[in-house]
């Protein structure tokens, strides 16, 4: 029988004081302050949540990473994280993840009365010619970039 008793991972591994804080109830520390005046801070539980700022629609928000930049001093650099929201309709001048020639590329989308064109994402880059969008490739715009996270 001894063989079949699994390795003990009980109290020796999980100290009892830690155990409490792992439970979903949480908030034990604040609630424990009983003496004297109630701390005014006790009521204030809010904190700044970066995700709330960056992710408006969690159903439609995706992350991409920049890999391959064709110019220096661009506003999007190697390794930057792009936040992309598919629920936003492409608008004139937006930067978007586009599917061009079998790969993902970030492009600036120009929407005018004459039609839709994909321009280089970095404005000063003249290396790439604008691409005209036609009826048959309407799914080229995958999603609109809403934020760029950059490590400095």
């Amino acid at each position: 029988m001894k063989d079949f008793i699994p390795h003990p991972i009980s109290s020796s591994v999980i100290p009892s004081e830690v155990e409490g804080s792992l439970l979903p109830e949480g908030g034990l520390l604040l609630g424990a302050v009983k003496a004297g005046f109630p701390s005014p801070a006790e009521e204030v539980r809010e904190k700044l949540d970066l995700v709330k700022l960056l992710v408006r629609h969690s159903a439609s928000t995706f992350f991409f990473q920049v890999d391959g930049v064709s110019m220096v001093d661009a506003d999007m650099d190697e390794g930057d994280i792009l936040i992309v929201d598919r629920s936003i309709d492409p608008y004139n001048g937006c930067k978007a993840i586009c599917f061009v020639d079998g790969e993902y590329t970030v492009k600036r989308v120009e929407i005018t009365d004459h039609g839709v064109r994909l321009l280089p994402a970095n404005e000063k880059n003249s290396k790439y010619k604008p691409i005209e969008i036609h009826e048959e490739n309407r799914f080229m715009v995958w999603g609109v970039v809403t934020w760029v996270i950059k490590k400095v």
Binding site: L23, V66, S70, D89
Partner: protein, 478 residues
């Protein structure tokens, strides 16, 4: 009204989210351990690849046609499923998630007016262009609506369920790039049929409203009875000799005849097909009556130590599922089998059952019970070990499952649920759950679980695009 939203070829569609180059190409996703095709794109279906075809049997078709093959990527599928559910929940406060790729929406009492969602999602309909609003639709019904579908018809003036169905589908596509078929009908069973029509008729643009009696009759007359939700293959076999081939034939049987042959569940389906809602809307998923965790191994296992490690992992996963539905079990079985695809070799199927002295969902109790059963199975006279064979697949099955609130399901025990000892054990298992939730599964595990990994093959797995920072898709800036 009820809506059913069904993701088309869901796993394949998930693989295509970040690989638009695969759209229009044959794609399949394999089951756990790269065994069989479990999801196929329409192009793969057209090549004759069937659901459940083992990879080695279709290798020829795959190679000749350049079929893209993927191993299951459940973190991706789970995340995409969550996104679709989130979109669906904007359309109804009551969403019943039926499976990873299907959900029912309760549309009872849905008001009129704002169903187009224009205010909440400005410009979407206009921008999509090809998805027209209700007015345009009315003008062009003749050429765009296929034979077997329904014309837009509003039971309440101003409510356009056909437009709503298309809108739900369009919104899911827009937000997640998963194609979703939405059927709306007076019963859940009919909603399922309506959603299947969307797949058959692309002109429905992902949304179908089926409610006028004459339309329902027309559709049911063409709908194979074995494809009706709730009618299994076994029931269909009983119906065949009676000349009942379509769903319509089935609805023409008498109530007493249906009740006699197929009992209450069959009668429920019969009524649902006749437009009488009988299947309750369940926001809460019914707890499962049995739980099974099984996998086949990449390399066959012929040693007890190797098998024990796998069985311990299966038992742990099964216990997790049991705990998630807040149930207890009193029976645990371990089973193992040899490679059933090797027709040249002798086969073995071994199993052993352990009855627990009291109902439990304690990780330690279940893992040690599984190891006990594993040992007994191994020692058995007809086991693979005794016959010099190796196991290809094994699993753990939990039975006699019940809720705490209903102890009568269980055999009498001396230490009932809620005793001091049981509570202490519950705290320990609860701590394991909390550690898994905070730091990932397998952070803390039993020694018998080894490295905690099930030895499965996933040669063709795509990156975990949406759940791992190291795997997010890369994009160039040009």
């Amino acid at each position: 009204m009820y809506a059913l939203a069904d993701c088309n070829n869901f796993f394949v569609s998930c693989e295509r989210v970040f690989r638009p180059d695969l759209v229009g190409k044959p794609v399949i996703v394999l089951s756990n351990n790269d065994g069989c095709a479990v999801s196929r794109s329409n192009e793969a279906k057209a090549l004759g690849i069937k659901m459940g075809d083992p990879l080695f049997k279709i290798r020829d078709i795959v190679e000749r046609n350049g079929v893209a093959v993927f191993s299951s990527n459940f973190p991706l599928y789970g995340d995409m499923s969550r996104r679709v559910q989130e979109v669906l929940s904007r359309f109804s406060p009551a969403v019943e998630v039926y499976s990873i790729d299907e959900a029912f929406l309760d549309l009872r009492g849905l008001g009129t007016g704002d169903i187009s969602g224009r205010e909440r999602f400005p410009d979407t309909i206009a921008t999509l262009g090809e998805r027209e609003g209700p007015t345009k639709w009315e003008g062009s019904t003749k050429e765009t609506v296929p034979e077997a579908s329904t014309l837009p018809h509003s039971p309440v003036p101003g409510t356009d369920f056909a437009a709503l169905a298309r809108r739900i589908s369009a919104e899911c596509w827009k937000c997640t790039s998963i194609p979703v078929s939405v059927g709306i009908a007076p019963t859940k069973t009919l909603a399922k049929i309506a959603s299947k029509l969307c797949k058959k008729y692309p002109k429905l643009e992902g949304g179908c409203f089926l409610h006028r009696p004459e339309d329902i009759e027309k559709v049911l007359r063409q709908f194979p009875v074995e494809d009706v939700w709730g009618i299994g293959r076994r029931s269909a076999r009983k119906l065949g000799p009676m000349g009942i081939r379509t769903a319509w034939d089935f609805t023409c049987l008498s109530e007493t005849q249906v009740l006699r042959m197929f009992h209450l569940p069959g009668l429920r389906t019969w009524k649902e097909l006749r437009g009488v809602p009988c299947i309750a809307f369940e926001d809460v998923i019914e707890p499962k009556q049995s739980i099974c965790v099984s996998r086949s191994f990449v390399h066959e296992i012929s040693d007890l130590a190797g098998l024990r490690e796998q069985v311990a992992n299966f038992a742990y996963s099964a216990a997790e599922k049991l705990r998630r539905q807040k149930s207890y079990c009193q029976e645990l079985a371990v089973f193992a089998l040899t490679n059933r695809f090797r027709e040249d070799a002798p086969q073995a199927f071994s199993s052993a059952l352990v009855t627990l002295p009291e109902p439990s969902n304690d990780y330690r109790v279940l893992v040690s019970a599984a190891l006990r059963a594993c040992q007994r199975m191994w020692n058995g006279s007809d086991s693979a070990a005794a016959r010099g064979l190796a196991y290809k697949k094994a699993g753990v099955l939990l039975g006699r499952i019940g809720q705490e609130a209903n102890p009568s399901l269980f055999v009498q025990s001396d230490a009932p649920i809620g005793s001091e000892a049981a509570e202490r054990n519950e705290r320990l298992s609860g701590a394991l759950d909390a550690i898994s939730a905070a730091y990932g599964r397998g952070t803390v595990r039993f020694g018998s679980q080894g490295d905690g990994r099930v030895r499965a093959s996933c040669e063709h797995q795509s990156p975990h695009y949406t759940t791992l920072w190291t795997d997010i898709p890369k994009v160039s800036v040009k």
